[in-house]
């Protein structure tokens, strides 16, 4: 069972130990006589209100004190957590306690890797680096991934310096090298870390899968390890979150759709509200599908540079197919309205994908938005006006 770490733990005696949230019942507490679960080393290290992370398989005695040893075995609970993150559930807190952890049987010559405290990232390292002996310094990035945390500065110079000093890592290794993910570089000044701690910052590869090769080569990354990619697989895993971000406005959009759809020659018709409202919703759905699913899938093949245009094209395509398959009962104005609406919604949804794509400069994004947001709003308004007009030409 994974317990949520409280936002600001007031008592965290050891890395690998998490403070439970106030009211939660816990059968694993040391005060409990229940044997429903046996925390690995909980009898020694847990206290009332505190439990040991399930992934801690033991403790290493080091000159810097006891260091939790991390199990490389990814459990079903870990997998469930990963899936929840991917579909956008509870994304605000999926973090582990910062500090020093041990992978395998590290010694004084083992590499020191620095990472964020987003558990998805931590689990990726656990499964990717299971054959290695490493020290891992986990920074407090508030449960945010390395790239975004570096942008915000929480994966930053001050935090690296603080954790390196507090963790006592200088007592457990004989060398003075840190390995940071390259995607942490926007937040960290390597020369300042060196000045403050004596540790040299080595920027490792972007992707965890390349770490072993990087270590084997003597901390040398090939050019391809240093280059950002946006492969089909990397784009596909983002789709559920893109969809979940579109869902929140629906609670006020859907009532609006039904109110608009009921308008017509009889002023307002409940039956038209339902049948035409459903058709209008499907136009919206086609747009969402185009912008949040088709655009990520076909990103390199939608050859326009602006994401708004890529999205509009994807949305127009999906809406057109939908109209050809299911749109027989609509008049020409209604069909036109749905085409415009689907394209506008997909254009907006597609524009949001700029934030995820690792090749979009904010200056360019803002320029695109200045051009396209007014078009999107204007097109959506015109489409809705045409939809109401369509009721009158029956």
């Amino acid at each position: 069972m994974v317990q949520k770490a409280s936002k600001e733990p007031t008592l965290v005696p050891l890395d690998g130990v998490v403070v439970l949230e106030g009211e939660e019942e816990n059968c694993c507490s040391p005060d409990s006589v229940s044997d429903c679960c046996t925390p690995a080393m909980g009898d020694v290290h847990a206290r009332a209100g505190i439990m040991v992370y399930p992934f801690v398989s033991g403790w290493l005695d080091t000159p810097a004190g006891e260091v939790p040893r991390v199990s490389p075995v990814i459990t079903d609970a870990d997998r469930r957590g990963t899936i929840a993150m991917r579909v956008g559930i509870g994304r605000d807190s999926y973090e582990i306690t910062p500090g020093l952890y041990a992978f395998g049987e590290p010694g004084e010559n083992s590499p020191v890797i620095v990472t964020c405290n987003y558990k998805l990232t931590f689990d990726l390292l656990r499964s990717t680096l299971k054959k290695l002996d490493l020290w891992v310094v986990v920074l407090d990035t508030k449960g945010i991934n390395v790239w975004c945390a570096a942008g915000k500065g929480t994966f930053g110079t001050a935090e690296v310096i603080k954790r390196v000093k507090e963790s006592g890592v200088e007592k457990v290794v004989a060398h003075r090298d840190l390995i940071l993910p390259q995607f942490g570089a926007p937040g960290v000044s390597a020369h300042e870390v060196k000045r403050a701690t004596g540790f040299k910052v080595n920027y490792g590869p972007i992707r965890a899968e390349d770490i072993t090769a990087y270590l084997d080569a003597g901390l040398v990354a090939t050019p391809s390890m240093r280059e950002a990619t946006f492969t089909l697989k990397e784009r596909v895993v983002l789709i559920p979150v893109e969809i979940s971000l579109l869902l929140s406005p629906l609670k006020w959009v859907i009532p609006l759709l039904f109110i608009l759809s009921g308008l017509g020659p009889s002023i307002w018709s409940p039956s038209a509200a339902v049948t035409r409202g459903f058709a209008l919703f499907m136009g919206l759905f086609a747009g969402g599908l185009g912008g949040a699913v088709i655009l990520p899938l076909l990103l390199p093949y939608l050859f326009w540079r602006e994401f708004s245009l890529k999205g509009a094209a994807a949305g127009a395509g999906v809406t057109l197919i939908g109209l050809l398959l299911f749109g027989g009962a609509l008049n020409w104005l209604e069909a036109l309205s749905l085409m415009v609406l689907g394209s506008a919604v997909a254009s907006y949804a597609g524009m949001n994908f700029t934030g995820t794509a690792p090749f979009t400069s904010p200056t360019s994004v803002e320029k695109e938005m200045r051009r396209w947001v007014p078009i999107q709003i204007g097109a959506a308004a015109a489409a809705l006006a045409a939809w109401v007009g369509g009721a009158f030409i029956g």
């Binding site: 971000l245 994004v365 320029k367």
Partner: protein
């Protein structure tokens, strides 16, 4: 990053005069914007190769020991920018509890 071109405008500025050729920018840039310039890196200088590929992450600037590079890093998240237009606040990833990135 082959196959992906965006609008290509950014705030990257490189001052070759100050460059000491340490090569840190070559290491941290995820889009190979910089290349080794004339001569060897040590004592030589780097040069801008593909400035339009810059995504303004700021890694080169913060890791340049002689401040030869400037770039204004920002949030490239459309909903964050929209939020900043409406509220007048600075764009940040916090729009939905960090959910947008």
């Amino acid at each position: 990053m082959q196959g992906y071109d965006y609008l290509g405008i950014n705030t990257l500025h490189f001052d070759a005069e100050k460059c000491v050729g340490c090569g840190m920018c070559l290491t941290v840039c995820p889009h190979a914007v910089f290349v080794k310039g004339e001569g060897n890196l040590k004592g030589g200088k780097v040069a801008l190769d593909k400035p339009s590929k810059c995504m303004e992450c700021g890694a080169c600037a913060i890791n340049c020991p002689v401040a030869a590079i400037t770039v204004t890093p920002g949030v490239g998240c459309a909903s964050a920018i929209l939020h900043s237009w409406i509220t007048g606040e600075e764009a940040s990833c916090d729009c939905s509890g960090g959910g947008c990135c």
